[in-house]
């Protein structure tokens, strides 16, 4: 049971004291790598040239580079220390709970990294003959089949490089489908709770964005949807569960309303971690959707990428998938089929972020059907446990049942001048990465918390203790929260100056 008494709420700087899960310890200072550079130091020795030397200047003529780029000159130990020191300034899943809502910061299994680096996998060239790439292609095939089964769809492309790229691909499919029926249609409907990528995507595919206001439960207002869907509607882009972590229980009606007017249902699969093994979008009326392998399927977030955004669709959209598509030939060999006259075209060079396919498949194999189902149940269990443990102190703007994430509002704390962003900064002092701040926009001062399945009860309890302690701090010592964090290497950074007078690269100081 989380206790409110075990946290010393008066502590400002927890130096040498234990505050929940953390205690301060020194971190190394480290300048920019350029500031460590000194002419003549080096970290590389090439094998001697086994062919005759060439005169580069003579070969290249005017195209010869006279001045070498002033890259840093350092030794190997300095490189290791430099980047290791930088790494210690980061928070990461490997250090603790990272409840960044909508990002699904789950554990990244190490066997994934190991198999992605096997020589025959990591060193495969995209243009090596298909006869010498059957292993790589079998991995693609197996992952495609698993994802088709998990989503309940009929066909898939793994080519998109990330979620937003998948959205773009998915809406291209929608457009190609409508065009093939003689009319591309004019608008795409996007709920006001959607990720910003949704309207941006619709716009770059040449669609007008029509905003759909959520109802009082934070869900799609089906009556309003029915009113605005017409023969000009190409699709609805729906996140399900929604960005407030709620399953759209009228999903079947939503699909019916769209289909009755010939429009399609696009699902943003950002929150698929709430559904895997428990419900399949293909079964509840979704026509096309993307997945984020870096969310649901455990490929590492890596400080911002790489992602991977496969797009799964119903058979009606299959002819339009990006080229090439994987096909099994009559002789049993796998190969890429480029002859796809109705295709929307290619969305990325080669075949997508293949290294991420390997990791995602390794994750699926490590789980199996029972493991994936338990994973989803645990993700939803964790979110609801947090909700039950905090709803007396933080306001729930929507009391609808939560799935994999819970969204609170800062309304009570804001009355004391403490905003969601302040609470986020304060929880850093307690040893956690903050939740997602101020999103979705339909909630004023949102705290969007997605624990994922990767957290133990012990870690969740520490998080709950910390959030409860901060709620008390907001009452008793609001300045403590508003000036947080107090224990990090740097205090709050001046973002305004950074944007007004951008310094986006290092330059040597004169002299």
């Amino acid at each position: 049971m989380a206790s409110d008494t075990m946290i010393p709420v008066e502590t400002t700087t927890p130096r040498n004291t234990t505050l929940g899960k953390v205690r301060t310890h020194p971190t190394q200072n480290e300048g920019l790598i350029f500031e460590k550079s000194s002419p003549g130091k080096r970290a590389v020795r090439l094998a001697p040239l086994d062919v005759p030397e060439v005169d580069a200047e003579a070969l290249l003529g005017d195209a010869f580079r006279v001045d070498a780029a002033p890259l840093p000159e350092v030794s190997e130990i300095e490189i290791i220390r430099h980047f290791t020191r930088l790494s210690t300034w980061n928070y990461a899943i490997d250090l603790g709970m990272y409840p960044l809502g909508s990002c699904t910061m789950k554990y990244n299994p190490r066997v994934n990294e190991f198999v992605a680096r096997l020589e025959g996998i990591a060193e495969a060239h995209p243009y090596q003959p298909e006869s010498l790439a059957q292993g790589s292609l079998e991995v693609v095939r197996e992952l495609e089949q698993c994802l088709i089964e998990i989503t309940g769809m009929d066909a898939i492309t793994l080519q998109p490089a990330a979620g937003a790229h998948g959205e773009f691909t998915g809406i291209l499919l929608v457009r190609a489908y409508h065009e093939s029926r003689g009319n591309a249609r004019r608008k795409v409907i996007v709920p006001d709770s959607a990720h910003g990528t949704n309207p941006a995507t619709a716009a770059i595919c040449g669609y007008e964005v029509q905003n759909l206001k959520s109802n009082s439960l934070g869900m799609v207002d089906v009556a309003e949807l029915e009113r605005i869907v017409d023969e000009d509607t190409a699709a609805l882009m729906l996140t399900n569960p929604s960005t407030i972590g709620v399953f759209e229980s009228e999903i079947h009606k939503i699909a019916e309303v769209l289909h009755a007017k010939g429009a399609l249902l696009y699902m943003d699969g950002a929150n698929m971690n709430a559904l895997v093994g428990k419900a399949r979008p293909g079964d509840f009326g979704v026509d096309v959707m993307h997945l984020n392998l870096h969310k649901t399927f455990s490929t590492p977030h890596g400080g911002g990428g790489p992602g991977s955004g496969p797009v799964a669709c119903k058979a009606i959209l299959e002819p339009f998938l990006p080229t090439p598509v994987l096909a099994r030939r009559s002789d049993g060999m796998l190969g890429w089929n480029h002859d796809r006259p109705q295709s929307v075209g290619r969305v990325r060079a080669f075949y997508g972020n293949y290294g991420m396919f390997v990791r995602a498949l390794a994750y699926i194999l490590a789980n199996g059907p029972d493991g994936l189902r338990q994973t989803t149940e645990d993700a939803v269990l964790n979110a609801n446990y947090i909700r039950s443990s905090l709803e007396d102190l933080y306001e729930l703007p929507y009391t609808t049942a939560s799935m994999h994430e819970v969204v609170f509002s800062d309304r009570r704390q804001a009355a004391r001048g403490v905003k969601t962003g302040d609470i986020a900064k304060r929880i850093i002092d307690y040893g956690f990465h903050p939740f997602t701040v101020s999103f979705p926009m339909i909630v004023s001062g949102a705290l969007m918390i997605e624990p994922t399945e990767s957290e133990s009860k012990e870690e969740l309890d520490l998080f709950i203790d910390a959030m409860r302690a901060i709620a008390h701090e907001a009452e008793k010592t609001p300045e403590l929260v508003k000036n947080a964090p107090h224990s990090t290497r740097v205090s709050r950074l001046d973002e305004a100056t950074a944007a007004r007078k951008p310094i986006l690269r290092w330059r040597p100081t004169a002299g």
Partner: protein
Amino acid sequence: MRYLPKSPAERAVMLERIGVRTADELFHVIPEEYRLKRDLKIPRQMGESEIIEYFRNAAAQNGSGYASFLGAGCYRHYRPVVIDSIVQRGEFLTSYTPYQAEITQGTLQAIFEFQTMICELTGMDVANASMYDGSTGASEAVLMAARITGRSHSVVAATVHPEYREVMATASQHRGLPSTTVGYDAETGRVNLDLLQAAITDDTACVLVQSPNFFGVVEDIPAIAAIAHAKGALLIVSIAEAVSLGVVRPPVEADIVSLEAQSFGVAMSYGGPFCGVIATKEKFIRQMPGRLAGQTQDADGNRGFVLTLATREQHIRREKATSNICTNQALVALMATVFLTVYGKDGLREVAVQNLAKAEFARTTLTAQSGAEALFGASPRFNEFVLVTEEPVAVMQARLLEQKILGGVDLSRWYPELGHATLWCATELNTRAQMEAAATTLAAREAVEA
């Protein structure tokens, strides 16, 4: 279920707190008819040893021990061991986009260093934190040029990677952005400057060339820039082989450079993940897509870094954003940063010169055989060249494969006018023995025929 950190007893305590009997009850908000009541039809749960065995088998099916002369947008360079040591640190691997600057200074400073190195290499003023890859980066660069100039038309050299051109066509098809492809000079393999001049109109936003181009030939950037700029169009230079920047003059006349950084220490991995990056002149910063790290100070005057200029992005601007891109390739950009730090100023020059020497020797050796000649011989090149053979490509490739040699990429799919043409690449990792073996195999054709 070795990734799940809860015992059945702990789950029971949590369910009790929530007030439900089973976890399944939490899913009752999903209408009953849509709940999956069976196991997914996917392979059963495997132990770690089985998973490794599965992928080892896949790797083995790929064939191994081949000498490869494949390039064409994906290059085999040596990857120093420290790259993977560093990027596998959990603090880099398992962190996310550095929204909370106070606890992501490591990622932010590394991005700032990456941006700086890209500027130094390309001769541009600013670079972003990375793009998905070179193909999507080039496509975003064209859209950026359209925003800057208020014009809609683009002129693209036929010697830009064919798959990059396909991606651009897909990306711009619904935005009212027409494009004209300009052919190459049959002698030089460079973009035909007369055709280029003729293709540019008053509505041309940009000229896009690749250098070294798809044939490995370095374009005459100053001449192309002069033609583009004379008509008010921007010049975008796409660079697919980044190591070339160690010895090839940077395209300083360009307005936008779109670089694929895979050559900087990124595994080929059957084509991805790679690392695109866009660099540009200072005056165009606010039209640049992608994340940017900027230097600033904290309240105590300490240097620190933040994501900045976010007002261009989708989470703020929604349908008016410069791009819908959300993620970047941060971990891959970190690989490139470590690579460039390891090689450094002199090392990058040395490895680039080695590539020149290897490709020159490969070209000379292969064309010493009768029935094989190199195209565009008088133009400056980096580490690739086009070989035209009397023998049909498929026949030649089959004979090379028997000797465990992967010959050049067949160009007929994209450039049928070149006949029996293949694109060969030789990097610092190709040995003299491999080149001589390839030449011997080519020559053996005569022995067979004679």
